[in-house]
């Protein structure tokens, strides 16, 4: 059984939190550059250039690309042939978040209780989703998630009769109603199937895909294309001030579901879509 020291996990997590907030992915930078080319609104073009300049400063000066450095969400794949020595995995991740958010001067955005709203002061607890997988590797992905785009997300229990059209209309309508709030251009994570909570999780996980990647299932690849076109015809544009580029990508995840159900979810993400992965 492979052993991974507690401290290694903690330090890795701390670095992932900082890197995610300082380094917007190349896929997004490329998509933003392309957006500058195709955007018709002069204000929109200007905004896209400001975002690119922002992401350059963030990368070079190692400062947070967005001040909302988010809820620290983790997707962890734990090989069944490994164990953490010197402590518990959840603690290591939590302490890594404390360290990363402190050393990176990242904002502490978590309140202890949703109604009494006292800041925890160290951006914990993180949210951790785990999968047990074969092998002896530990794969950790952090996805800091800001509040503005999260607030524009929704789960809806459609019925099987609503079909593909119902799902597509739901996704497009969710973006339409979000207007400027999730800091467009956005990345739309959409999911269909599973159960109520599984669907929501898949919509969030969908955003980990690379912008520009094509869905492996041609049926959904076509749907993603159609959705992106419909969303970009809404006219919302960069920052909602009008324009051609409302979304940089639409990612759809599907999962088997019950004969009576058709859960649908949209998790919105802003252009500051942040995620970083490490494999130990």
């Amino acid at each position: 059984m492979k052993e991974i020291p507690f401290e290694t996990v903690k330090d890795t997590v701390a670095k992932l939190c900082m890197d995610a907030n300082f380094d917007i992915g190349d896929d997004i930078i490329d998509a933003l550059k392309h957006a500058v080319e195709i955007e018709e609104s002069p204000t929109g073009k200007d905004i896209l250039k400001q975002i690119l300049e922002n992401d350059r400063i963030s990368h070079e000066e190692k400062v947070a690309a967005c001040q909302d450095t988010g809820f620290a969400v983790f997707w962890v794949e734990i090989g069944s042939e490994l164990r953490i020595s010197g402590g518990e995995l959840y603690d290591a991740i939590k302490q890594g978040v404390v360290k990363g958010y402190k050393e990176g001067y990242l904002r502490k955005s978590i309140v202890e209780d949703p109604l009494r709203r006292k800041n925890t002061g160290d951006n914990t607890p993180p949210i951790i989703y785990t999968d047990i997988v074969p092998g002896d590797k530990l794969k950790i992905t952090v996805q800091p998630k800001g509040g503005g785009a999260e607030n524009m997300s929704e789960v809806k229990m459609l019925t099987p009769a609503d079909g593909a059209e119902g799902f597509k209309d739901f996704v497009v309508d969710r973006v339409r109603r979000s207007k400027a709030n999730p800091c467009p251009p956005v990345i739309v994570g959409a999911a269909i199937g599973g159960t109520f909570e599984k669907c929501a999780m898949l919509a969030k996980k969908a955003q980990l895909r690379k912008v520009g990647s094509v869905h492996p299932d041609p049926f959904y690849a076509d749907m993603e294309k159609e959705l992106l076109e419909r969303i970009n015809n809404l006219g919302i544009g960069p920052q909602g001030l009008g324009g051609r580029v409302t979304a940089l990508a639409v990612f759809v995840e599907a999962f088997p579901c019950h004969i009576a159900t058709m859960p649908c979810a949209v998790n919105m993400c802003c252009h500051a879509s942040r995620h970083k992965t490490a494999i130990l």
């Binding site: 200007d46 967005c66 909302d68 904002r107 502490k108 607030n151 009008g242 051609r244 500051a272």
Partner: protein, 183 residues
Amino acid sequence: MVKNITTPLTDELVAGLHAGDSVLISGTIYTGRDLAHKRLVEALTAGKDLPFDLKGAVIYYVGPAPAPPGKPIGSAGPTTSYRMDPYTPLLLEKGLKGMVGKGNRGQSVLDAIKKYKAVYFAAVGGAAALISGSIKAAKVIAYDELGPEAVRELQVENFPAIVVDDIYGEDLYEKGTARYRKE
């Protein structure tokens, strides 16, 4: 054309701003978001003094990241404005002239903007590292215990923003979206 404006804002200055104008703001502005707004309104309702003079003031909806060594402030982009809507009309009635945030406002705020002659600016959400370069000094003046939500007094130079809602009832979100919609 980019307009240079200086705080505090006057009726005259606000009257010259139109939805779609790009502006560079210089002078003193104050930060305030969800919990700070709640407290400001509670103080006003209880007849207490506010931590800053509202007359002609500009509030920036932001909860900045902590300042790294050698910088006055960390990344500091706008947060979504509609969450401040329940508190905004009263602040406008008491003299607030400008708000900087992102995202659409509710009807009660749009009405109050017209009625009390104020202006709502958008800054680019997510351009926080870029925007923080225009903030030259920052100090907490109230509610320190709220961490990122404390009220800060900022000295800004050429802070980039766009006029979204003006005193004439124009709204750039509506106007811009209608212009590029293809449905």
